[in-house]
């Protein structure tokens, strides 16, 4: 078990990818706090998974402070912070309202900032023992190359990438490693909503046809499962990754390794 004795805090912990990370961390022996807006999260389903649930809006600083105080009181330490909470507005900049823009940045960027800021004192003291503490942010392959009609999302993920490198520089000397995981297409409620959303359904295709079309663009002919992402997050959280910091880890089934494909 790679995370025995460690305490981890996962935001978006009841969502598609977050839930898989929580499950994996538990399996690896960690004490896990699973933070989300509601017990069911974006999957709208509550399973008793063995994690400690924290009701948390990552855009609310007081709630972030309270969450970290609770971790301090109950567990007495924090080794791993995973910022998996995120939202996606499926619009171009012209269609995006200022409120939607601000909300995207509030959750995806400010949320990462706030939880990290208030987790740092705990992470720093965890690292004093010699083993490193680890922050894992959620970027996206969309932070490198754009999908159409996802402007605010692409911009927030680019911001998370830069923030991850900045945090790695600033807090590396304190023993805190910071990395960003950049998933491609992963089978989550967010992806399904993208398939069903206004920007999609082009050419009168069914969701199934759409899913196949997207799979076929991937060199691996699949899109990822949340567990694929959890595999990498687990490694980045573990002491095996003690030399890994400041990097953006693209995990996308080879999607972005190719130049535009020539279709017909």
């Amino acid at each position: 078990m790679k995370l025995e004795g460690k305490t981890a805090f996962v935001t978006g912990g009841r969502g598609g990818i977050g839930r898989a990370i929580v499950a994996r961390f538990l399996k690896e022996g960690a004490t896990v706090y699973s933070a989300d807006l509601s017990v069911g999260g974006s999957l709208d389903r509550h399973d008793e998974d063995g994690s400690r649930f924290v009701r948390l809006d990552v855009t609310n600083e007081n709630e972030c402070i309270a969450a970290m105080n609770r971790v301090q009181d109950e567990a007495g330490r924090l080794d791993v912070l995973v910022n998996a909470a995120g939202i996606e507005i499926e619009k171009t900049i012209e269609e995006t309202t200022l409120d939607e823009w601000n909300r995207s940045f509030a959750v995806n960027v400010t949320g990462t900032f706030l939880t990290s800021k208030h987790a740092l004192p705990l992470l720093r003291s965890a690292a004093e023992g010699g083993a490193s503490a680890s922050i894992i942010n959620f970027g996206s392959y969309d932070g490198f190359i754009a999908d159409p009609g996802l402007a605010a999302y692409c911009a927030t993920k680019g911001a998370v990438h830069a923030l991850s490198r900045a945090m790695a520089c600033d807090h590396g000397p304190e023993g805190v490693r910071v990395n960003a995981v950049c998933p491609g297409y992963v089978d989550t409620p967010m992806l399904q909503s993208f398939f069903e959303g206004e920007g999609s359904g082009g050419g009168g295709r069914t969701i199934t046809q759409l899913q196949k079309a997207v799979r076929d663009v991937h060199p691996m002919r699949i899109y990822g499962a949340p567990e694929d992402i959890a595999n990498l997050v687990n490694w980045l959280a573990s002491d095996e990754a003690r030399y890994a910091s400041g990097q953006l880890w693209i995990l996308d089934g080879g999607l972005s390794a190719q130049v535009q494909q020539m279709n017909p």
């Binding site: 392959y141 969309d142 190359i145 754009a146 999908d147 159409p148 009609g149 920007g199 999609s200 359904g201 082009g202 050419g203 759409l210 079309a213 997207v214 663009v217 999607l255 972005s256 390794a257 190719q258 130049v259 535009q260 494909q261 020539m262 279709n263 017909p264």
Partner: protein, 252 residues
């Protein structure tokens, strides 16, 4: 504003390899227009419609001897453009030893040969411009050796910039899809070349492919003194293609 544009490469002497057609030809013509004296080379004799102002030498970049002869003929130069390149449309499994010798010989050893021969004869403030490719950063399917050879060019570009600055600057241009014989050869591989062309157009924010003069424009800038602080970098000019996800535009 002046009614005429001052010539940006006046009094400069340039070598452009592979200048007979395509991107290289575009660069030769742009350099001449900007006032440079240009020497170009290729494996064939001088093409019939070649600009008379440009000196032509029949030479193969994959031959160190030929490149030494080219550099000696040119004498002191300010600009070297390593444009000569070949592509073989095969996967690793399908590639032969002859494919390797051909692609690596021209695209990798050719750039090395030319740089090694020309560098000692380069004036201070000189500029080397290598033609890399977007395929050196992400893979085009079925172009294994070509993709790898362009990644080599990118690596060598950085090394030359680091080793031979401040005397010489070295950058690479990464063209996307440019209307040349090489692009046509790519489409010819598709089951429906015309549909493939339309599909590819939709993947470009510009809704058009590049033209040799688009690449020549950045080459002129990199060759000029305006680019005095630009070195060791890859400059992608691809009509926005690689800014977009490879998901087909027809999917959504």
């Amino acid at each position: 504003m002046l009614w005429w544009a001052p010539m940006r490469l006046k009094d400069k002497k340039a070598i452009v390899t592979g200048g007979s057609r395509g991107i290289g030809r575009g660069i030769v013509e742009a350099f001449l227009k900007e006032g440079a004296s240009v020497l170009s080379c290729g494996r064939s004799p001088v093409p019939e419609d070649f600009p008379v102002a440009c000196v032509w030498m029949t030479a193969d970049v994959s031959s160190a001897e030929d490149m030494e002869r080219l550099a000696a003929t040119a004498g002191l130069v300010d600009i070297l453009v390593n444009n000569a390149g070949v592509q073989v449309e095969r996967t690793v499994m399908a590639s032969t030893d002859a494919d390797w010798d051909h692609v690596i010989g021209v695209n990798c050893k050719g750039v090395f040969n030319a740089c090694r021969a020309v560098l000692p004869r380069m004036r201070s403030g000189g500029s080397i411009i290598n033609v890399g490719s977007v395929s050196g950063q992400a893979a085009d399917p079925g172009m294994a050796l070509y993709n790898a050879s362009k990644a080599f060019v990118h690596g060598l570009t950085r090394s030359i910039a680091v080793d031979h600055g401040p005397r010489v600057r070295c950058n690479a241009i990464c063209p996307g899809w440019v209307e040349t014989g090489m692009l046509e050869a790519g489409f010819a591989l598709a089951s429906d070349p015309e549909a493939a062309r339309q599909d590819a157009l939709m993947r470009h924010a510009t809704r058009r492919f590049g033209r040799p003069e688009d690449i020549a424009a950045i080459a002129v800038w990199l060759a000029s003194d305006e680019a005095g602080f630009a070195t060791g970098q890859l400059f992608t000019v691809d009509g926005g293609m690689t800014a977009a996800s490879p998901i087909s535009p027809g999917i959504y």
